[in-house]
Structures are given as structure tokens and as C-alpha cells.
Point group: C3
Chain length 366, copies 3
């Protein structure tokens, strides 16, 4: 008579629906600095994963469940050879193979856990979310040389959102909200934001929104970080990619040089924004903010990051309130305005990628 | 290709069932003192509403959701002309019409949010819960001149209940529980309460319960507030209306004067009890307690209100425990006793009003 | 027209499924020391019960709901004659009969609440979980003379588990986890545990697991409690019964005497582990730990209990994490290893007893 440890008392949570996130994509799994100590438990795209740094310095990602009695492996401990379960001590290597069952010579053939493809690049750890046809990556993960060029100082953090990932896209693609949500930091005059010249370009994978606010009063974060002499010419350049956004903002003294010049001077903030679904209704938001201090670099960087934290905290309050309200009403708010152009294009890209997968579930590229 | 911001990631909460509350009624939405500052978010009869005081001093009530991207308007700010959304700055007037879209000249015709009918009277804000046939009030909201006559000092508060509204009716219509729940304050001897002469009268909208406790020991709250010389003749007069109760309690020195005399002296407490469903399973309880101090009026009023708070806190513990237990067992407790007469008549009134609506959903008065 | 207090606003929680726990069994309801003061509310095998000690010293158990308006009786007060409801004062005796309705001479015939069969023995309160055919016990509750023999000092506590009861069985039947979960206290060297000689015997109601760890380093709790001269011969004897386990562990100086001798000396810890389902997914864990101090008995006992608490806290963390993970994945972890033999036999016993009941729901013994 066989015995099952998994019985009526185990009440499965609602099973995830068919993949609702674009697949055959790299998503951010962690910032490198998160993997300095204990194993890291994180649900990514609906999959509970344990991430850890191996003895050889590479990062491994396994299903976060021991194949023996289901304890999360993230409750275990790291060893030279891999990760050891914190209940009965089974030891797994970076590929998820069980390589030791304490007190037992034979290791059952079934004793293994699924491993996921992860890559570390420019201090970001990426996970491949592949289709059945493409469990192995079709590309290298994105580069982000702001983290490694030496031109910038930066820091960052991971925020957990009780809101679906696309609401974070919407927020980042429309910086007109700065005038209402972020008055205390990077906002500045609301009508300047709303009336800024805005240029939107897109293709089938990216959206690019550029806004110029000429001869405007610099907001508090800017004046705290840089010795502007008066009004500024200010820019926001937003690049949306399926799994992350890059936002380059900054300002030069008004009229001093062209803000179309890619090598322009002045004050710069370069934001990296990795937006990874945790579940259909919750998200991870990985961000770093880099800047180019003229003097006293660590202090200025710390100030810019501190202001960024204030700003992103404000966004989190708004976006989570927005999502709770959407659920509460259970029906869409339907009026679009001029600032929605970029966000709506990004939604079309995501929708198309999802649809592609629904039409072609093995994910073969046509 | 159109884009929807409202997609599979939005998980609507259970839709409200057909109206289970009596309609074509005024319900309490707020105490006037709650509308002195920021916008007030409150779900009333299943509808999320933002309440705010306009520049002209009147009170407005709108659906608490911006029609652009669904942020609660209660997260926004009040201006001379209305309420401005805290995300992208859309401005709405007291009728819910959008009167400004920042950075855009044309205001979309669809840019509006539903408005609700509210009226302020005697320091109470009422909301009309009308049928389709009667979105506009069929009557004036109830008067409550205890708040404005000058004979009384009063104060009050709003309690949130994790219990349906009728359990609060039950509690207020049967003051025999004072002897068991409120020993420390207004209780007094339990058997005096249970054996009091009780007179119950009712019609199709109201129930009136009168109890006299002659020659009884005054309870702690009474002796703290009034210089009784010994035993008292005590009364409780409870008037149930569909949306609120008025409870007049008090005492005179035993045998000193008739407690049937509407102009009798002695110590008085006049309670207003607005009971408004938040949802089918939760409620708002708006109360004020007024008294007639002989001397040191502010101190005596403060004492009476303090004792009232202790009492109502005790009721909340009992009623919420009762409701949790009803849900836990999932079946009725069925034994009635003598003190239930008034509460049961009130339940019949509510049941009939609901039934009327089910038979005649447009709410036309026959 | 009749009135129901139980209406659409009462949202019953999911009704319990057909009994999934072995019936016609005694389960632990409380430790005697829990019944020294106020009434005790506890859900046992899916039934909300109030337990209280009567004036004659016996323990009573009633359905925890007043038959009048459903307040938990555990919110009430104890009197000489029974328990009085904290809302309107109905008084119930130990058999659940209402013996007083304040202010009313006649007591309605229906005014009663179900009573459960409980027995107190050796400082443990047991409740009979009978079938329809056997509402009265078929046996006496188990004896546990460790609590009353005078040979041991002991103390204990009740833990609430957010995990089903069989995961606690698994944990207690496989002490190999000591080497990984309990390193700080009773663990000792992991490989000693995993490689210990293990003997498993079972019949249709019990499982017995004996493990001997000869010539091993004593773990921290042992050396703190007993003056071992060096390595020890250590034993673990685990007896599983349907409703509880008895675990006798200890050690003698290595080679000094046989650890098969039932009268052996050395350091002893005798654990009682009552595991009672609260619901299908939550459990009560009643434990006591007894020891035989050589000197300074109260201090040594306190030390042993303190260490036991540390240990059981660690188990609770692991088991609840295991259960959350089982629910999160919604499918079994399937690999068995050598240490699972005892736990799997216990699961077969439970499964057979459940199956018996499904085949023979009145619970008649064939």
C-alpha cells in the first residue's frame, strides 16, 4: 500500500492560469548585491525560486522546494557543493541534482529539483522565462553599462508591489504625474510637466518617450545635487523594453547647451527599472539610480538615492491604491488623455506578445 | 487596435448582490465634524464614495474613482473649484464633471464621475439611497434638533463594525443587555433590567420600546454625572427608524416626579445612533451622546461621553464576536426570549422594505 | 410572520467536509492547568467548544454558542451552577441545559446547547470524538502515569499550528531531523543521527521506532542537565498512537549500562505529544516534557523545558513553512528516504481508520 504525504489537508492555492506574461524573455531576478549571504527566496513569474551564489561565484536558481518533504530550500544552508535542505539534510547542486542523502548510500534517481536559467551581467541577475520550445535562452541578457562604465555612482533596491506589473509600466512611461505625485522631490511645476513637448516613438519591442521642459524651475532634488545658476532646460528620455525601462533625466543651465546632444553636461540621473511579475497581481520592482556628481560624489549620490527613495515610495502608494480601487470597482476607468500615448503603446506590445504565445504556445519564432 | 488598462490582472472582488438594504431612504454618511479637512473616503451601502466640503460650505459626494486611471479621488486634494486627482491632476466639480485636464484643452465628454445626493442637517450628513425610479429624494432628511436646540451638550464618533447592521439594531433595541455587558458603566443591577416593565409599539416604519425601572440603584455613569439623593426612577425610551435610532435614557430621584412627563427634570442622556451598512457584512455606526449638565457642563459632558465610549466599545466586542460565531457555525441560533420583541419587530420592518423592493424594483410607491 | 436573525448577511464559512479524522478515538482537548480560570474557547476536530471546570471539579465541554443570539459562551462567566452568557445572561449547566433566562419564568424547551464527552486523567483533558453509533466512549482515555508517578518533574504548553496534524506526526516519528533543525539544543552530530541503527515495529493502531546512537557526543541540552563524563550511549524510543505520541529519549555514559534495560539510569526526557486537529489544515499540539534531575531538580527541570521550547519553536517554523510550500505548489513532493519508514506506517494507520469510517459511517466495530 502506498502512502501519500500530500493528502486532502493540502489545499492548493489557485493554480496559475496559462502564461499571461510575455515569454522567451529575460526578466530581472535580483540585484547582484542581494546574493551576498543566505539563499534568497523569490517568486518570479509565478514560480517559487531559491537563488544563491555558488562557490565558483556564479548564481544558481532552483525550484524552492525539496523533493523529499517539500520544505523550501531557501530555509536551508549554503555549502561548497550547493544548498542543503534544513529539514533532513538532502544536498542539491547548482543544477538541482541531489548529491547527498544523509545516512543513505543510494540516492534515488528521482531526487532532483528543477533548475532555472539565470545569468549575471552588469550587477543584475536575469532569469530566462522560456517557452517549451525554448527552455534555453535565444539571446544574451541585456547589457546595462551604466553600472560598470565608471562614469556614474549608483545604488538601488527592490520594492514589492501589491499591483500587477503593467501599472508600474504605465507609471514610468508617463512622467507627467511628477507634478502631482512628487511635488516634494523631482516634481516641480505641474503645468510645466503637463505642457511639455512630448515625442513618442515605438517599434514592436520598445517605446521611446522624450519630453523637454525648457527654461523651467529646477525641482528640489536637482538643486540639492547640482549648482544650477537659475532656470534649467530639462529632459526626460524613457525607453521601455518588455522586462525593464531605462529612464535618463537631467538638466543643464537654461540655454547653455543642446539637450539633444548625447554628450551633454549638466546634472544626470540614469534610472534602471526592472519590472518582473511575481504573480498576475503582484510585482517586483528592481531599481537603481545612477548620477554624476561634480564634487563630494558619495554625499551627492547618497542624496540623489535618498530623494529617489522618497519618490518611489510615493509611486508605490499611488499605484497600490489605484490597483485596490480597480479591484474594488471591478470595471475599467475608461477615459484616456494626451499623456497616455507612451503607456498605451507599451500595453499593445505586451498584448501582442501574449497573443503570439496563445496562438503559438510552443513559442517558435515564425 | 484599442488598449485596455483593465485586463486579466484586475481581479474584481465579489460583485454586490441585488440591493439588500432598504432603499428610498436617507442614511447617515458622516458627522459634520468629519468634513473639516481632507476628503473623506467611505463605502456606504456598497458604494465607495468620497465626501468633501465645497468652497460654498455644502457637502459633495462623488464615486471615489478617477475616470482616467481609477485612483481613488480621496487620494487627491481639495481646491476652490472641487477635487483634484492625486495622479495626473484631473479636476472635478461637486457634480462630478471634469473641469480641467492638465496640459490638454479639450475635456473628453466622458470625463465625469457619478455624484450622489447628500444633505447636511443638524450637524449630520445624510445620503439618499434611492431606487432607479427615485434617484432624487422623496423627502427631506430627518431633523435631529438635540444637536441644535441649545438644551444639550454633546459629542460623538464613528465606529466601524465587522458585523452586519441589523445586529447593531438588535443590540440597541434591547437594553436588557446592559446588566451583563455594561456592568462597569450604565449597567446597574441585571435583574432590574430583565424584570423592567417594557412597552413595545410599532408601525410600518418605526418601533418604540419604553422601559421603566422604578426605585432602582443608579448605575456608575449616572451617579458620576448627577447628584442623586438615593434610588432613582429610571427610563429608557428607544425609537427605531430604518436608518437610525434615538434613545432617550435618564433618571429622576425615586418618586420625585413622573417619568411619563415629557418635560421631566433629572439627568438625561440623548443618544443618536445612525447605523449605515458599509457592505452586507460590515457597518458604520455614527453616534452622538447629548446630556444636560446642572453644573460644570463641559466636564460633565466629557465624563458622560467618556463613559459612553467605554459602553460602546463593550458592545462592539460583543457584536463582532456574535457575528464571527454566526459565520463560524453557519446556521441560526433559534431560541427567542421576552426581550427580543422590539428587535424582532424592527427586523420585520426591514424585511418588508426589502421585499417591497424585490417585488417592485423601481421603487415606485404603490 | 416569523423573523430570522440569521439572514443573508451571515456568510457561513466553508462547511467542514465529512469527517477526515479517525473517529471513535480520544483526543487531547486541554492540559489540566489550562482550566484554572476563565472559560477556554477551543476548536477541536472542527467543532468550536467551550471548556470549563465546574464547581464539583469536573471539566465540562459545550458547543461554544449561546442558543439565543449566538454569542460564544466562552465570552461569558463561570458561576457555581454553570456558565452564563455574556450578552443577555442565559445560564447553562454542564450538560448544556439552560437553567435560567433572566427576567422570564418559563425556560423554552429548545433552550439548550450540545455537550461533549470529556474526561480528565493524569492532568490531561480528553475529548471523545465518536461516531453516530458511538457518541459515548468505547474505552477509557489513555493513562499517562509519567505525570503522576512522582518519578519525574515536568511542564508543558499548547502550540497552535498552521499545518495539518499529520505533518506533526511525521516530524515526531523521524528524529533524524534533529541533526539539521535542532543543532543548538538536542541535535548533536547530524551523521550520527542519520546513521543510527533504527528499528521500526507496528500494529494496526501503533508504531514504535527505536534508535540507538552509541558512543556519541552528548548534545547541548544533555550536558547542561546531567554530569556525563564523556561520550554517551543515547536512545530514542518513539511510540505513535492515533491521537498522541510518547517519546522517551536519554543517555547513559557510553558503555556504562545497557540501553535496552527498561530500568536504566542516566539522563531521561519523557515527552508527551498530543496532536489534535483543530481543522483540516490547522492543529493543536499539546506537549509536556518530564525529566529526572539528580540534583537541583526545579532548576534542571526548568532548563530542560526551556531547551524543549527552543526545540519545538524550531519545529513549528519548519513544519509551517513546509505546509505553506505544499499549498503553494499544490502537488506532492514524492521522493522517500530511509528515515520515512515510521512516519509512513503511521500514515497508513490513519488512512485505514479514515477508510473504515467511510465504508462504515456509523462506526460499528465489525
Amino acid at each position: 500500500m502506498s502512502v501519500t504525504v500530500f493528502d486532502s489537508a493540502v489545499q492548493p492555492q489557485a493554480a496559475p492560469k496559462p502564461a499571461t506574461f510575455p515569454i522567451n524573455q529575460w526578466y530581472v531576478a535580483a540585484l547582484s548585491k542581494e546574493l551576498e549571504g543566505a539563499p534568497l527566496a523569490r517568486t518570479l513569474l509565478g514560480l517559487p525560486v531559491v537563488l544563491f551564489r555558488c562557490a565558483d561565484g556564479t548564481v544558481a536558481a532552483l525550484e524552492d522546494r525539496c523533493c523529499h518533504r517539500a520544505l523550501p530550500l531557501s530555509n536551508g544552508t549554503l555549502e561548497e557543493a550547493g544548498i542543503r535542505c534544513g529539514y533532513h539534510g538532502l544536498l542539491f547542486d547548482a543544477q538541482g541534482k541531489c548529491i547527498e542523502v544523509p545516512g543513505q548510500d543510494r540516492i534515488p534517481a528521482k531526487a532532483k529539483v528543477p533548475a532555472y536559467v539565470v545569468r549575471e551581467k552588469d550587477h543584475i541577475v536575469w532569469i530566462w522565462h522560456g517557452s517549451e520550445a525554448h527552455p534555453q535562452p535565444l539571446s544574451e541578457p541585456p547589457a546595462y553599462d551604466v553600472h560598470s562604465s565608471g562614469r556614474y555612482l549608483y545604488d538601488g533596491d527592490v520594492y514589492h508591489y501589491d499591483a500587477p506589473y503593467q501599472l508600474i509600466h504605465d507609471n514610468l512611461l508617463d512622467l507627467s504625474h511628477l507634478g502631482y505625485v512628487h511635488l516634494r522631490t523631482i516634481g516641480g511645476n505641474a503645468s510645466i510637466h503637463m505642457n511639455a513637448r512630448m515625442d513618442v516613438q515605438s517599434d514592436d519591442q520598445t517605446v521611446r518617450v522624450v519630453r523637454h521642459m525648457l527654461d523651467s524651475v529646477p525641482p528640489p532634488t536637482y538643486t540639492a545635487a547640482y549648482p544650477f545658476s537659475g532656470n534649467v532646460d530639462r529632459w526626460q528620455e524613457i525607453e521601455f523594453h518588455v522586462s525593464h525601462l531605462r529612464i535618463w533625466t537631467g538638466a543643464v543651465d537654461a540655454g547653455s547647451e543642446s539637450i539633444d546632444d548625447p554628450h551633454r553636461g549638466g546634472f544626470h540621473m540614469r534610472g534602471f527599472h526592472g519590472v518582473t511579475p511575481e504573480t498576475e497581481t503582484t510585482s517586483h520592482y528592481f531599481w537603481t539610480m545612477a548620477t554624476n556628481p561634480l564634487s563630494d560624489p558619495e554625499a551627492v549620490k547618497a542624496k540623489v538615492v535618498e530623494q529617489t527613495i522618497l519618490t518611489f515610495d510615493e509611486d508605490k502608494v499611488v499605484i497600490e491604491a489605484q490597483y485596490r480601487n480597480m479591484c474594488r470597482f471591478g470595471k475599467p476607468a475608461t477615459v484616456d488623455i494626451h499623456v497616455d500615448v507612451g503607456a498605451n503603446r507599451a500595453r499593445r506590445i505586451i498584448e501582442r506578445l501574449r497573443q503570439n504565445h496563445a496562438d503559438n504556445p510552443t513559442g517558435e519564432r515564425g
